[in-house]
């Protein structure tokens, strides 16, 4: 029956991994803010067993050299309170606090944030039959129906569902790395290689095997002297998902941008690193013309439907505005 499941509280990581890996109908449960909604309220997910991992010792933040190691069960509010972000990655805090609300950020974990499911309203509504992400091969109602909060980059004719995380935008700009435990041991996965583009299998969202558990996210911090910022453009001032967003970090030395990082939210089927924009910026002096050139380089061959066409120009202006703010 939909909405019922066996509840298991795991005591250690190995036992949790063994339990979920050995049962295709089992899922991990952490903060639950997306998952409980999709199971109990929307009826989209129907696991037979939930393995509660919230008591596992995967909480806390530490510095390892020039990198921040964040336990997967650290909450969004806990990470936002980390003092080192002030000087070494301000855009991570800005993105965290731009997401959801204090109540949700007290529940939602960093590992879960990476794995949050799309807000595509067709995916979240089982009364809509066509959703390749929910039911592979059934079609995509978003491409033919009204769609506004959808992706324009990384999309395919099979799916335009957006990855709605704010946090992942600066994390992908920072070259963060995912630590995962599986039955075959531990491995690390660069966040830029963690997500799968939808292609013709939008139901496959990342490279984790079933039962593989995110244990930590490790992110390099910005070099001393670099500045960063996150701008989120949305329909209301707070508690709303992005139409477009940009995470930017710049190191400006002697009037020249010697390091540049640009990533985009609200536009991609995955958190979108705009490497081409960074190449335009590096080695030049900050200015509106080069910022616009970088924005043009960031948005190439967008996949739009009538409801999302406005995002092409909005995303470019979001990039320019964020660059201007950070360079100021």
């Amino acid at each position: 029956m939909n909405g019922t499941f066996e509840y298991v509280r795991a005591d250690d990581v190995a036992a949790a991994v063994a339990l979920v890996s050995g049962d295709s109908e089992a899922q991990y449960l952490a903060g639950g803010t997306t998952q409980i909604d999709l199971i109990l309220k929307d009826g989209v997910l129907n696991p037979e067993r939930l393995v509660d991992i919230t008591r596992l010792p995967l909480r806390g933040i530490s510095l390892r050299g020039d990198a921040l190691v964040v336990g997967a069960l650290t909450t969004m509010e806990e990470l936002a309170a980390e003092p080192v972000l002030d000087v070494r990655a301000a855009f991570v805090r800005e993105a965290l606090l731009a997401g959801a609300t204090a109540q949700l950020r007290n529940m939602a974990t960093i590992g879960g944030n990476l794995l949050q499911r799309t807000r595509c309203r067709y995916f979240r509504d089982p009364s809509v039959p066509a959703c390749n992400k929910r039911t592979p091969g059934s079609g995509c109602a978003a491409i033919t129906g009204p769609a506004r909060m959808h992706a324009i980059l990384g999309a395919s004719a099979h799916c335009i569902a957006l990855h709605a995380s704010d946090l992942c935008v600066p994390l992908v700009a920072l070259d963060a790395v995912v630590h995962a435990d599986g039955t075959d041991g531990q491995r690390t996965i660069p966040l830029t290689e963690f997500y799968r583009l939808p292609g013709d299998r939008p139901d496959l969202e990342n490279v984790l095997a079933h039962g593989e558990l995110i244990t930590a996210i490790e992110t390099p911090l910005l070099p001393a002297g670099a500045r960063s910022g996150y701008l989120k453009v949305r329909d209301r001032a707070s508690y709303e998902f992005a139409l477009t967003s940009a995470a930017v970090a710049l190191l400006i030395e002697d009037g020249v941008m010697t390091e540049a990082r640009v990533a985009l939210g609200g536009v991609g089927t995955i958190p979108w690193r705009a490497a081409a924009a960074e190449e335009v910026l590096i080695g030049t002096a900050p200015g509106t013309a080069v910022f616009r050139e970088a924005a043009e380089a960031a948005i190439v061959d967008p996949f739009t439907v009538s409801g999302t066409a406005f995002k092409v120009e909005l995303a470019k202006r979001t990039i320019v505005r964020t660059l201007e703010t950070v360079a100021r």
């Binding site: 066996e6 509840y7 639950g32 109540q103």
Partner: protein
């Protein structure tokens, strides 16, 4: 490790408003439903029941959370505080008093969630300005539009 089948009830030990409870809850039962239907603590409201409105806001170990998106089973050995737990010895909590004084409600349905959220916001130190109060209260919707009075009430308790 504990495991409870979907058909049977789970034994849960938890603290609500300072009192210890031994409950039996379903594996899929939310904290919101357990508070209202098993403990009779109906001050916590079911608004959207989907994490969008904030009416079900309670404190778990002192932090504000949405009880509609939290399983009761996850509250084993946690300390839950609801609106019923704010007053002490018949005296309203300062935030409750301020809401009354500022007429910070109309229909009152969202009010328990607003007050629980405000109590947490003050503890978080996020009442530095009206703008900050608005931003960090944005998870609590009020369809009557009592927001200006909410902000005034919270600002007063913050000593501004």
């Amino acid at each position: 490790m504990i495991a409870v089948a979907s058909q049977s009830l789970l034994a849960l030990t938890t603290s609500v408003n300072g009192a210890a409870y031994e409950l039996r809850v379903a594996s899929h039962e939310t904290l919101l439903d357990a508070l209202r239907d098993r403990l009779g603590l109906t001050g916590t409201k079911k608004g959207c029941d989907q994490g969008a409105c904030g009416a079900c806001t309670v404190l778990v170990d002192g932090r504000r959370v949405l009880s509609c998106l939290m399983l009761a089973a996850q509250c084993e050995c946690r300390e839950v505080t609801t609106i019923e737990g704010l007053a002490s010895d018949g005296e309203l909590h300062p935030v409750q008093e301020a809401f009354v004084r500022h007429d910070a409600l109309q229909c009152g349905y969202c009010t328990p969630g607003q007050i629980m959220s405000a109590v947490a916001l003050l503890a978080e130190g996020r009442a530095g300005s009206d703008a900050e109060i608005r931003e960090f209260m944005s998870g609590n919707l009020c369809r009557c539009g009592a927001y200006p009075n909410n902000v005034a009430a919270i600002g007063e308790v913050a000593g501004r």
